[in-house]
């Protein structure tokens, strides 16, 4: 099987940011995303996920390297100052290059 390199960008942030982050994903050219509710602890304190309104989510998107760059840049400039959030990228390999 031929596999092709892609970037997986993972974002953990407060649930309030969901709409703006998925909008950003569309803007920078991601073709899909996956999202789930998480609990967490970080510099802005524990997020116990007890109330929907104050919960955390994790968003994952498999994207082309250029898209990952653009995405991270936008996150750093517009989102990091405002939201409890982390983001990181890693290398993954996919089968259907054209899908991402």
């Amino acid at each position: 099987m031929n596999t092709y390199p892609m970037k997986l960008v993972t974002i953990v942030c407060e649930a309030y940011a969901q709409d703006t982050v998925t909008k950003l994903l569309n803007e920078v050219g991601a073709h899909g995303w996956t999202l789930f509710a998480v609990e967490g602890d970080g510099s802005q304190g524990k997020r116990p996920a007890d109330i929907k309104e104050f919960a955390n989510i994790q968003i994952e998107a498999v994207v082309q390297p250029e898209v990952a760059d653009k995405l991270l840049e936008r996150l750093a400039n517009d989102f990091f100052p405002r939201y409890a959030m982390i983001a990181f990228e890693s290398e993954v390999r996919v089968l259907r290059r054209e899908k991402f």
């Binding site: 309030y16 703006t20 524990k46 007890d50 109330i51 929907k52 517009d78």
Partner: protein, 326 residues
């Protein structure tokens, strides 16, 4: 010693005691935690139930009785941020956006506080206008919009992305989950009237007080987990979170009387004015004023004002009302 008796009776109600139990759970680090879907389910139930009941009450009372006090309530909600903002900005030395955010929360209302107030009146056999839910419904949004405008004016320079558009705030304030459920159920109840009520009463009315007790247990743990943040907010906000409700409670009761409500209804309007939102407002503010610090507005409304109101505040507003209606 009437007021002490009133407070005592309130403190020994299942709802308030379960709230206390929740606080204890959080403080003793018991692993008691309501799963988030249960929390959501309970809020949906409470909002639908209270809204539906209110709608049926409007259908029975006739809209002509409701509109004037509702308008008064709405105006009060919109005005509260106008004086709380300078108090916070200049008295409390908060940044403009933080002051605007907190002001929005105190102008808006807490549905659970309202429900607890109706509960209290029922417990002491004090009749009240059932359609008062309409005031709850119309008081939720205006202050949020006012607060967002205040905050925007202060932070105009920053901008760019659509983070913080007023449009977001309006959509959230009008179609956010809690206001939507409340207003929607109000309309449904108003359309169905009494025959509809007969069908769903055993679900939406009979077990209501028990569900509230369960929900307050959960709210106790939520508030309790934020007790640690009390240190971060400083003494000014601590005092603010208790003094402002007393002031607004008094104004609300008085306005209720002026608008022609009975003793019970005026007490409820006092409770509404005194309450601070901790569900609708945080959601809208987080989305439209993301630069405001949530620790301030959440801790004060959730961990100070909310517990104060459901334990001491409500009986106090009732006594104020009794005094005004002598």
């Amino acid at each position: 010693m009437d007021i002490l008796d009133a407070i005592h009776a309130n403190l020994l109600s299942p709802a308030v005691l379960f709230f206390g139990l929740g606080l204890v759970a959080a403080l003793t680090k018991s692993d008691l935690k309501f799963p988030e879907p249960l929390y959501v389910a309970l809020t949906i139930y409470l909002l639908l139930a209270i809204g539906f009941k209110g709608g049926v009450a409007i259908a029975e009372a006739g809209i002509e009785k409701v509109w004037l006090p509702a308008l008064a309530a709405m105006a009060l909600g919109a005005l509260i941020p106008l004086w709380t903002y300078p108090v916070l900005r200049f008295g409390g030395k908060f940044s403009a956006v933080d002051a605007a955010a907190i002001a929005a929360h105190y102008g808006s209302v807490s549905a659970v506080t309202f429900i607890a107030a109706t509960n209290y009146l029922k417990a002491i056999n004090q009749p009240f206008e059932n359609y008062a839910t309409a005031f709850l419904a119309v008081m939720e949004s205006p202050a949020i919009l006012v607060g967002v405008v205040l905050g925007k004016m202060a932070t105009k320079s920053k901008g760019g992305s659509d983070f913080s558009s007023i449009k977001t705030a309006i959509h959230e304030a009008l179609f956010g989950r809690s206001i939507f459920l409340l207003v929607g159920a109000l309309i449904v109840g108003w359309l169905c009237g009494k025959p509809g009520m007969d069908k769903v009463e055993p679900f939406f009315v009979t077990p209501f007080q028990g569900v509230l007790a369960l929900f307050l247990l959960e709210m106790g743990t939520v508030a309790g987990r934020r007790v640690g943040d009390l240190k971060k907010v400083g003494p000014f906000l601590l005092a603010f979170g208790i003094v402002m409700p007393l002031l607004h409670g008094g104004i609300g009761v008085w306005l209720g009387k002026v608008a022609g409500l009975e003793l019970g209804g005026a007490t409820l309007m006092g409770g509404l004015a005194a309450s601070a939102s901790y569900i609708a407002a945080p959601a809208a503010i987080r989305l439209s004023l993301p630069d405001a610090n949530p620790t301030f507005y959440l801790t004060s409304s959730l961990a100070i004002t909310f517990p104060f109101n459901i334990s001491l505040g409500i009986p106090i507003y009732y006594e104020i009302a009794r005094w005004l209606y002598r």
